[in-house]
Symmetry: C2
Subunit: 373 residues, 2 copies
């Protein structure tokens, strides 16, 4: 039966429309991801009302922390899924996309606790909001910090659980369903390894050579940000295992390049654009690619004393940035990004990758160069 008046609001099966392009399908599904995310948070805020004001505020704060993300991971799931001609169960692609965003938000929440950060995306994060509230209500500083940290740990737990619940409830038939669970399991396992390595480096318990920093970067960021979302989208589109692995390999390279760009923004970025303090990496003594390079240069004695000081001034941060520029660290990291991007694009040169998808992913890889936010 021909539908003469296709209903624009009927987004549940737009793939039925032959006129829908891949790009349209991705954008339309990203709206569904937003809608599902909002509906989930609204339901939780409502349920929390039965458990006291604090719990309602926790879910309100989680709602805030979910705002303003780039939704990069959902976009990648959907890019692979639709770029490989989707089919199968499209609503499962939306659910998987949301699962990765929930996972990302959970990781951010716990990463902030680990780093002692109270600001994220230019706003107080869950820990920051709860600490401020406790101080306002007369708690002393240690108790307020504890309250903030506890709230953020619990918020992360709730979103991590919600992410896995989404994947658990997929209805796509085997082996896709188990594959997505495997990819998710691996992403959590590898990300935790990278996060632990990051803390160990920052605490001065490991060396911080450039190889260690690159391995940590790939583990902490690239796996769950790019490799796993692309592989999951491919699994849902029932792609060949070889193609799935190829996309994951591309993802590790691009994800690493993306994070190396973050290392640059963490020192040279505009706070007003990035929404993140341009001195926080230095204050926390993060062992980034910049620092790993600088360690072997003559500027190191000027840089080292400035690292890891919680009360680093803006002038000191600027001085450290200038030294990192002079010693060639900035140029080195830019060249690392270029190498990774080139290697990523080279992996796409395979008859397995449809031309349109290859073009989209090549554009994505290039966007890692010269980031400003």
């Amino acid at each position: 039966m021909t539908r003469l008046h296709p209903d624009v609001a009927d987004v549940s099966s737009p793939a039925d429309s032959p006129a829908e392009t891949v790009a349209d399908a991705i954008e339309s599904d990203l709206l569904l991801v937003e809608h599902e995310f909002s509906a989930f948070l609204a339901a939780r805020r409502a349920e929390a009302a039965g458990y006291g004001d604090g719990y309602v505020r926790l879910w309100q704060s989680v709602t805030e922390s979910a705002r303003g993300g780039k939704r990069l991971r959902p976009r990648l799931v959907l890019t692979a899924y639709h770029g490989l001609n989707g089919g199968g169960n499209r609503s499962d692609a939306v659910q998987t996309a949301l699962a990765f965003e929930l996972l990302h938000t959970a990781f951010l929440l716990h990463d902030d606790v680990i780093d002692g950060d109270t600001v994220r995306r230019g706003r107080p994060n869950v820990a920051g909001e709860f600490s401020a509230d406790a101080l306002f209500r007369g708690a002393d500083e240690p108790r307020a910090r504890l309250w903030g940290q506890s709230a953020a740990i619990l918020a992360g737990d709730l979103l991590l659980h919600a992410a896995t619940q989404r994947v658990a409830r997929l209805t796509t038939p085997e082996p896709s369903r188990s594959l997505i669970l495997d990819l998710f399991e691996r992403a959590v396992f590898v990300t935790a390894a990278g996060e632990l390595a990051d803390v160990g480096l920052a605490a001065g318990l490991s060396d911080g050579r450039i190889d260690d920093v690159l391995a940590m970067t790939e583990e902490k960021t690239a796996e769950y940000t790019v490799a796993a979302p692309l592989a999951a989208g491919a699994a849902l589109a029932r792609a060949d295992p070889e193609l799935r692995d190829l996309l994951a390999g591309y993802g590790r390279l691009v994800g690493t390049a993306f994070q190396l760009g973050d290392d640059l923004l963490g020192v040279f970025g505009e706070e007003a654009v990035t929404g993140k303090s341009a001195s926080s990496d230095l204050r926390q003594g993060k062992q980034t690619s910049l620092i790993a390079f600088a360690r072997g240069t003559r500027e190191w004695p000027a840089i080292q004393p400035l690292l890891g000081h919680p009360d680093l001034s803006a002038a000191e941060a600027a001085a450290a940035g200038a030294a990192l520029e002079r010693c060639g660290a900035r140029a080195f990291v830019n060249s690392l990004i270029a190498t990774h991007v080139a290697a990523a694009i080279a992996t796409l040169d395979s008859p397995l990758v449809p031309a349109d998808l290859a073009a989209t992913l090549a554009r994505l890889a290039h966007s890692c160069v010269g980031r400003t936010s």
Copy 2:
């Protein structure tokens, strides 16, 4: 076909043997839970080797922290499952039992971070072990604490995810499968609410009236410890929804009684038996049922100044205990336990509950009275 020589080592389907009692089946499945738990941890330790020494040590430390538990939650899943004549998918009952133990271990890890505890079950916990290691390797105190806390947050995340993965991979048909996911989701949601309320009470941000403390106790402990495991076992045995709800109701009462017993042990327990410092509740200023009662008595001025001091001496802890005894708080909590136990046993008086299961659960309820560990 009659099996003349049933193979004792074939534990995958012992329910086929008509000679196996319910008690045998539970004990046999608890061994399988132990075996699966060990195999999971061994696999993770082996995989971690690809991600550096720190990650291997994290999984070793998680393995340690999993030892010595009472395995109460797995036992309850299996008690309900076999007590309701099991059937269905027995290996799913084992997986669900393990999932609750993984969840419990994850909650303990994060609870310890929130409480700042570095000892659990008489041994250094993950945070304690990692902090000590960092100090040994020359880190200063704040960095060592950060390293310990970060390791424990990540360990909890990994086990929380592993718990949900187990449930996600159940093969029991619908609606049981979704029911177990629902029960798990609710358990995490309610437990987080209770944990947040607990921190709020300890931080002095809430009143700490006895009703608040009882609600917090039910949320933080009873739901995931007793109510959800029993309901999950019943769901796997395809029990009536009414019976499932009855068991969950029983579970909330018994779980609360169990935690009230913990409140008593936290002040009056023998450290050598409980494996937990008998002054930590006081040092942390926990708003337990004892404290909520004492607040309205004439002993309060003697007790209040002793609460929440990190360096409380053994003599001061003993003085606080004596005052809690004198003011009637200990007797009051004992009477609360008795009331909860009686109410729990009353719920079992239903034709829906098989007599043997009712007897087992009545014994369990009685065991909450007069606990020493």
